[in-house]
Subunit: 422 residues, 2 copies
């Protein structure tokens, strides 16, 4: 089934698309030069929002999930990118250990993990799964409906190395957000590659840092392309943690006001008739901590009283970016997967029945992923903008790679070794 893009393929976004298609060789060269200076995060998934007048990343996961949504056509690309990544990091590698999320439960968790294991196995590694979940005491095999299975064993720490019984990996692939901070078992590993590094976890990570890095990347990219970087960048303000609840709420209110005010100015500048809204996220936690949508600054007290604010001491207020994309009747949000420096695939996250696209991931939304159309990784330069899904996907791939580049800056800024040097 091929998603049918309705709103997405019309409107002013086509100008941006045209610019990117025209500048394709310059854009690719710009990325090549960036990757000479910066190491791409091992893998990411980037949530995008296409408002018709702007296209922006709203979330960059450094422990991406949903690999099972990649279609059979996308798999060879992911495998080839995985091969390229391994060649660079550790060509002598034989064994790779995947550390999954704790509490694997749903069939989709297992299917996701099975696909990730398959990608690295096909890239030429012995791949096993080692859990750091303290509740997992012995090897457990999870069965999938299609007959596949994934064996998950408790990860073992033996002196300076992590592995499994009779399995000594040279690389450890983290696919665990580490919500409770870096566990002892993974600390002070100097003999093995740990990817992504521990500072990618939420104990160190801040959305606001990512956003600042993204703004820097977006400005430079916008200058190269000759566009206002707002067209690819959501405005945001962080509300710093205060000592008291009142102080925290004051900081949040200020951030909300600043964001609304800047967005209004931009809407006016571009003659956009829509009503702006903002999204409040935890600065130091993923979307599972909650995402609140605020359509009017005056509703903030109500939001607070009803307990709908994300569970966090400090927040990031982000410009809400409307989602104009629909597949049939449902709101469709593109998610782009990267590995090494390559875009390896994309899916639509679907919100069936939801009327207007929310800027954040709405709570309780159900996800019906859809693959992008066949071989849409490749733009078709001759085509008129807005006329072809491949071209739209090229633009998505560019913006996703900008977010990936921002994540690279971010990980450099929090690299303990770099901090020691500084």
């Amino acid at each position: 089934m091929v998603p049918h893009l309705i709103t997405a393929l019309t409107g002013p976004i086509n100008e941006l698309e045209q610019r990117m298609l025209d500048a394709m060789p310059a854009i690719e060269r710009w990325f090549r030069l960036e990757w000479m200076e910066h190491t791409p995060p091992f893998y990411t998934s980037v949530d995008l929002r296409n408002a018709g007048f702007k296209l922006a990343p709203v979330d960059t996961s450094l422990f991406p999930h949903g690999w099972h949504h990649l279609t059979a056509e996308m798999m060879p690309l992911a495998v080839q990118a995985a091969m390229a990544a391994i060649e660079k990091i550790c060509p002598e590698a034989r064994n790779l250990l995947i550390v999954p999320e704790n509490h694997l439960q749903s069939p989709s968790d297992v299917a996701d993990l099975a696909q990730l294991q398959r990608i690295f196995n096909l890239a030429g590694l012995n791949v096993r799964v080692g859990s750091i979940d303290p509740e997992l005491k012995k090897a457990t095999t999870f069965q999938l409906a299609d007959g596949q299975s994934v064996a998950v064993e408790p990860a073992l720490r033996v002196r300076k190395r992590v592995g499994l019984r009779h399995f000594d990996p040279c690389t450890i692939l983290l696919n665990n957000e580490l919500p409770a901070g870096p566990p002892g078992i993974l600390e002070d590993l100097y003999e093995q590659y740990l990817l992504p590094p521990l500072q990618a976890g939420w104990t160190v990570r801040r959305r606001s840092r990512h956003t600042r890095c993204y703004e820097e990347v977006g400005k430079r990219f916008g200058k190269m392309l000759g566009i206002d970087h707002w067209l690819i960048h959501p405005i945001s303000h962080s509300a710093e943690a205060g000592k008291t609840k009142a102080r925290r709420m004051e900081a949040l209110r200020a951030a909300v006001d600043q964001t609304f005010s800047k967005v209004r100015r931009k809407y006016k500048e571009y003659g956009i008739g829509e009503k702006p809204f903002v999204v409040i996220k935890a600065d130091d936690a993923g979307d599972e901590a909650g995402v609140a949508v605020l359509r009017d600054a005056r509703d903030l007290p109500t939001l607070e009283e009803s307990g709908q604010l994300p569970r966090s001491g400090h927040w990031l207020v982000q410009e809400g970016v409307l989602t104009q994309e629909r597949v049939h009747e449902a709101v469709a949000e593109p998610v782009v997967y990267t590995m090494d420096r390559y875009v390896v695939g994309g899916v639509y996250r679907m919100h069936p029945g939801e009327s207007a696209g929310l800027g954040g991931r709405a709570r309780g939304a159900s996800y019906v992923p859809l693959a992008f159309e066949h071989s849409t990784q490749l733009p078709q330069p001759g085509e008129r903008p807005g006329a072809s899904a491949p071209n739209r996907f090229y633009m998505y791939g560019v913006v996703a790679r900008l977010a990936m580049l921002a994540a690279s800056y971010e990980l450099e800024a929090t690299d303990p070794e770099m901090l020691e040097l500084a």
Copy 2:
């Protein structure tokens, strides 16, 4: 349309397939380590023959043609591999010049060139085509039936660089076999990357050297896998150039006898009931110089008298490898395309109506290319051997990469800079 492999998916070849599937991580690691020491040829196409009891490469082109046969599914892989290649060779690259064969004529020549241009354009380069054909005096646009076109301009040499008017490439991609030797316009280029290097042309290249390199590679690979390397290697002997015609024919006869005798011994060892045959090729020219099939050493004088020997002063006699593969009724020979270190696609070259698979490319055969099945780049480790096209294609990709590795050894052995050091 999906090719239906008949003979190919049964028989002893399945043992070899099973070994390769079982050893997949070891094989991939082996290649990774090889590529740490050796530079892969920029691109190749490798002709394979599957005899049911053995699988061997019979021709490795360093100026591959037929890119237009790659399907839409394979294109993203080719583009991603091209990106990886450019990143390594010249990340600052903006402009790439393709030097095509002289005398472009047929629509398939033009479609091939258009696809090659498209691959590197989509990898993020400005790509133009500069011909070194002395008969091409001015820019010429070739139209394709589907509306595409390719502009070919005369390549210009300005002091130490080659380019076009207002187009100064940093990399020059040779897609020209240089049958008449390296033209002056391409010699002594020290400021630009010339890929593949001039010694890849037939003035320097010898099939016998490639074969020796391949035997070395095959032996080491066979040892790692625990197999007789004959299962992936065609026996061959070169007939050195003699001063007189009588001497040359004597050398050829000796090479034919040696080859037949070794092949017979192998057939006996493996209990193969087929009648061996050999193929005579020019040692210093591509298949366009002619390929002669010899079923009995006693027919050699007849072959010579009838003028059917390849046009060359010295020959390579190669073990004929039967082609047991059929798509419908036609003989199907797999051709695997590589770029950088990756397998990017494959096609079947078809010989409709031909009864028995010849070891070489028969003269006058018509070619009906077919794509391999959908996403067959990826093996399916769970499947029983012979049961799935993807697994067969994995084995083809492995053997093609062995031939590519041999080409890398070969280019190193003839690298003028390395020779100076030696």
